[in-house]
């Protein structure tokens, strides 16, 4: 089967072009721009088959969004090739643009003062969608996301989660074959996040659309994607199954203990221990958590206890030893 996305040695280096102030400086700046080179994406290659759900993981500024934007044709690569649905994205053919969608978390493309339904209608006009089919698709999506009563309310009156759902519906109205999502659940509450995750999964199963999302929430990735591409400092550091990633770098949990006064001695026998005032943070492997918990729960002066996932940055940092680049 032809891969739906094929990327080969993609690089993106750009000059930080400061907008010039002052008339003469601006005009001069058009020809001779100020140069500070940033290598956002370095030699990235991968293939994605139709119907896959893939996550780009990585710390902030790692190049995930840039790569995604290159797939969308918003950004020119410096070198390398990419083919999405048989097109070169940055040539931005109309036929290409009809077949994919890009959704960016916390960025709104719906008309602010009008009901979402109006924006959807406008969307139909822009994509020249046939009425009957459009109505059917819209009804399906509205039901799937559970926003039936909300489509007639002005978008500005909706909560962040509801707005995001509307954005997603708008992005799916033209039944794209490829859906690109940039931090779709950022800033949303847990309930909204899980609804969106469920809907995306359902959409993928029903329509066979290829979904790529960038995130730095482990939760999104675990819920949705089997395949993970880890991008650190512009390089693709890992491409494979999610399970493999977690196995490779160990399942670490953070156990946070809060004591009344002083943290008792000897906690580091359970694992790496960081003490800040009356709080101790233990880093241990998942399979040792139960054992550690049963031991600490009786410690005198223990006021509060919680078990958490370490932030993704930590996982990445641990994985690659403080972000050192591989040649």
């Amino acid at each position: 089967m032809e891969p739906v996305i094929e990327v080969s040695h993609l690089c993106r280096t750009y000059q930080v072009a400061q907008k010039k102030a002052g008339l003469l400086a601006s005009i001069r700046g058009l020809w001779k721009a100020e140069t500070r080179t940033v290598e956002a994406v370095r030699d990235v290659s991968f293939r994605i088959e139709p119907g896959e759900m893939v996550a780009f993981l990585g710390p902030n500024g790692a190049g995930k969004t840039t790569t995604l934007k290159m797939l969308a044709g918003l950004v020119y690569p410096t070198s390398g090739t990419a083919r999405v649905l048989g097109f070169q994205p940055w040539e931005r053919h109309d036929a290409f643009r009809r077949q994919f969608s890009l959704v960016m978390g916390q960025k709104n493309q719906l008309w602010w003062d009008l009901p979402a339904a109006d924006s959807f209608e406008l969307h139909r006009e822009i994509y020249s969608l046939e009425r009957a089919r459009f109505d059917r698709t819209l009804a399906e999506l509205v039901e799937m996301f559970g926003v039936d009563k909300l489509t007639r309310q002005p978008v500005r009156e909706l909560s962040l989660g509801e707005r995001m759902k509307m954005e997603l519906i708008a992005s799916l109205l033209h039944e794209p074959k490829v859906l690109l999502l940039d931090e779709p659940t950022i800033g949303l509450d847990v309930v909204a996040q899980s609804t969106i995750q469920r809907c995306l999964r359902e959409y993928n199963q029903r329509k066979g659309a290829t979904i790529i999302l960038t995130s730095h929430y482990m939760r999104d990735v675990e819920a949705l994607c089997s395949r993970v591409l880890m991008i650190v400092s512009g390089r693709l550091q890992y491409d494979g199954q999610l399970g493999g990633l977690l196995d490779r770098f160990g399942r670490i949990k953070l156990v946070r203990l809060q004591f009344e006064e002083l943290v008792p001695e000897g906690l580091d026998r359970f694992g790496e221990c960081k003490i800040i005032g009356p709080v101790a943070e233990l880093r241990l492997e998942k399979n040792r958590v139960a054992q550690a918990l049963s031991a600490v729960v009786d410690l005198p002066g223990l006021v509060d206890l919680s078990v958490q996932d370490p932030p993704l940055e930590d996982v990445v940092a641990m994985a690659f030893g403080s972000g050192a680049e591989k040649p």
Partner: protein, 284 residues
């Protein structure tokens, strides 16, 4: 342009205020001159409409076949239009009302409930400093323009006229500030007043004599228009320095202007009191 005060801390008393103003002045001046080409472009842009006006009025007078219209010669009309620019330099308060309304809308005005700080005094100080800097930096290009167009001017010799002009300009600044301030306070009662402000500005543009001398509208209309406070923002100072006013009319004009200032001041204070009370009642 925001109406918010600069976060400038100052020492106590007169020395402190003076230092603060000087600092603001220096910063504004540097800011202005830094963009020299922009400055040049801005100057050209500001004076191009003036060129158009000169051409238009020359054409009008030529077509009329007369020397004077409603007591104004062509030279006087053109001189008037330039002088009105000077009046507006003092009395225009761009963004003041809108800024106040915005501060009310997003709750920034809250601090005037809590701190021993008065909104009106604060804004007045800020605007005064800003105007001072603006006038100083604009003085050179304007002086150049006046020199360039000196053939249109018959500067009066009597010193009292100059004194009266300066007074009317300063009062014009005060009047402009108090009017815009009072307008901005409407934001306590109405959510979206930007369109209304724009409307008032357009009306003011017309009624203040910015477009053309009020007298040109005909004697009756001009009389009505001169009863309104707007004339003091542009027309009155220009008329004074053109030597068209007698000492009696000047004194009367200044006194009436003072009266209007007082009226707007009182209206502003009352509105501020009521508005803040309403604001705290609604929790912002």
């Amino acid at each position: 342009m925001s109406a918010g005060p600069l976060p400038v801390s100052a020492g106590p008393g007169l020395m402190g205020s003076l230092k603060k103003y000087l600092r603001i002045f220096r910063v504004s001046l540097v800011e202005r001159l830094a963009y020299r080409a922009d400055f040049l472009l801005g100057t050209v842009l500001r004076f191009l409409p003036m060129v158009t006006s000169v051409l238009l009025w020359s054409a009008v007078y030529r077509g009329s076949g007369r020397d004077t219209i409603e007591g104004y010669t062509c030279r006087e009309v053109i001189a008037y239009l330039l002088l009105v620019h000077v009046s507006r330099m003092f009395s225009s308060m761009p963004g003041l009302a809108a800024g106040i309304a915005r501060d009310i809308r997003d709750g920034t005005v809250k601090r005037y409930l809590v701190q021993p700080l008065d909104l009106q005094a604060h804004l007045l100080a800020y605007r005064a400093a800003h105007k001072f800097a603006y006038i100083l930096t604009s003085a050179l290009p304007y002086a150049g323009l006046f020199f360039f167009m000196s053939s249109y001017f018959d500067w009066p010799a009597e010193p009292w006229i100059w004194a009266a002009w300066l007074t009317s300009l300063l009062l014009g600044f005060l009047m402009g500030f108090l009017m815009e301030f009072a307008l901005g306070l409407l934001g306590f009662w109405f959510l979206e007043i930007s369109s209304f402000l724009y409307l008032i500005n357009t009306v003011s543009f017309f009624l203040s004599g910015h477009l053309m001398p009020l007298d040109l509208f005909g004697e009756r209309m001009a009389m009505v228009l001169k009863e309104l406070p707007f004339q003091y923002l542009a027309y009155f100072p220009a008329s004074v320095i053109l030597g068209r006013e007698t000492p009696e009319t000047v004194i009367k004009g200044l006194l009436v202007e003072l009266g209007w200032c007082l009226a707007f001041f009182i209206a502003g204070r009352v509105a501020l009191r009521m508005g803040l009370k309403r604001f705290s009642a609604f929790g912002g």
